[in-house]
Amino acid sequence: STVVLIFQAPISESPLKKDGSSEFRFCVGAGDRVRVGEALGRWNE
């Protein structure tokens, strides 16, 4: 069985702000094993 998750997440609103401080970033990679409750990605506010 397979699960596909599709979601909107914060990204940098301003094209001038290129440090990516508010961007969502995945903290996993292809082939990684994950478990329920472990972070898939994070963002800063």
Binding site: S1, L5, I6, P10, A30, G31, V34, V36, G37, R42
Partner: protein
């Protein structure tokens, strides 16, 4: 079969040497022989699986990406009554096992598919059947939920197959290198997936969000007898910041689905499609695998916008149960030859609010057969 025939031949030879045996002796010899043959066959299949996994792992480590390559075996699969096979497998694994046998069977399963029996919430002998054991819950605290409010957590135990940001016309997700499917095909034509049409890319994206139940304009689509309704890439792009993650659950994984964030589930769609296997080989050889298979899609909103989760069934794990809608039945006997009928949809009340789920709440479970 040849092993059993060899045993029979050996038995007949022994009978003739002894001046003839009885039928009961013959049967008592053949049955353990068949059992041994079955065990050997399962062992061989397991060894083959380990070998294939190792090959895939080695290829990944070398940076070799799996490429889409349809083959004859995949075409043959389309002819098989996979739904009936799946339902039969479900009935078989629902058979109540004698209490003394349960720990042995479940330990064998755990050994073959790398399950952690220590995490099971109940003692092994309390699971009446393999099907019950398969969908077992976990001990309290086995899956701590990341408390960071600025993180999105994994809804399942599994292996990350694909992930990334949806960009470009049609919002396509790559199944494997060389073949992609559109998100609209996966979620359904009435999805309120936030898309912006070509030429309006610079407009305020919030204004473009659709509300649940609102139909996407049927610009062009095709229906095939051999495949479900597949939406061609639309001349629209996903709104800014739309991401996806595809997670594969191996047979030994914990098979319950949890909530990735705090969100409101607004709508559920059930696609009664096919039930192809969803292993690595199938993803490499069957077109539109995830779009063809039976699945349940939940759509809603969270504080950052759109959220959807699609639970996709397979031959062995064919049915999906929803904790938020216990009446939903999946993997029902196939009544129609066409696999292109629209999904059955339900809007959750109250309209516009739906059902609230907290991060880590249990949402669904995959069942055997």
């Amino acid at each position: 079969t040849s092993f059993v025939k060899t045993l029979q031949t050996a038995f007949q030879a022994r009978s003739s040497n002894n001046g003839g045996g009885t039928n009961s002796q013959g049967n008592s010899f053949v049955v353990p022989g068949a059992t041994v043959a079955t065990i050997l066959m399962l062992g061989a299949l397991h060894a083959r699986r380990l070998y294939d996994d190792k090959k895939v792992q080695e290829a990944r480590e070398q940076g070799i990406e799996i490429v889409f390559k349809p083959d004859l075996k995949a075409s043959f699969l389309q002819l098989l009554p996979l739904r009936s096979i799946s339902r039969f497998w479900g009935s078989l694994t629902s058979t109540e096992l004698p209490v003394w046998m349960r720990p042995y069977v479940y330990r064998a399963w755990a050994r073959a598919f790398h399950s952690n029996l220590e995490e099971a919430a109940r003692p092994l002998d309390e699971y009446a059947s393999l099907r019950d054991f398969f969908v077992h819950t976990l001990k309290e605290g086995s899956r701590p939920i990341d408390p960071d409010p600025r993180c999105l957590v994994s809804p399942v135990d599994g292996t990350i197959l694909r992930y990334g940001e949806l960009k470009g016309a049609g919002a396509m997700i790559e199944q494997v290198k060389g073949f992609s499917y559109s998100v609209s095909s996966l979620l359904g034509e009435s999805s309120f997936l936030p898309m912006i049409s070509e030429g309006h890319m610079q407009e305020d994206s919030v204004k473009q969000e659709k509300v649940p139940g609102e139909k996407i304009k049927k610009s062009w689509w095709r229906v095939s007898l051999a495949s479900p309704k597949v939406w061609e890439p639309m001349s629209a792009h996903p709104m800014k910041g739309l991401f996806y993650c595809v997670i594969y659950l191996r047979p030994g994984d914990y098979h319950r689905v949890h909530s990735a964030v705090d969100w409101n589930v607004l709508v559920r769609r059930h696609f009664a499609g096919r039930l192809f296997p969803v292993n690595e080989r199938a993803t490499r050889t069957i077109r539109n695998l995830y779009v063809q298979n039976e699945r349940v899609v939940l759509e809603g909103i969270w504080k950052e916008g759109f959220m959807a989760i699609a639970a996709i069934g397979a031959t062995n794990i064919g049915s999906i149960e929803l904790c938020i809608e216990p009446d939903l039945r999946t993997n029902l006997p196939g009544k129609k030859l066409m696999h292109s009928e629209p999904p059955e949809e339900r809007l959750y009340e109250p309209k516009g609010v739906g059902l609230m789920l907290k991060k880590g709440d249990e949402v669904a479970a995959f069942n055997m057969g």
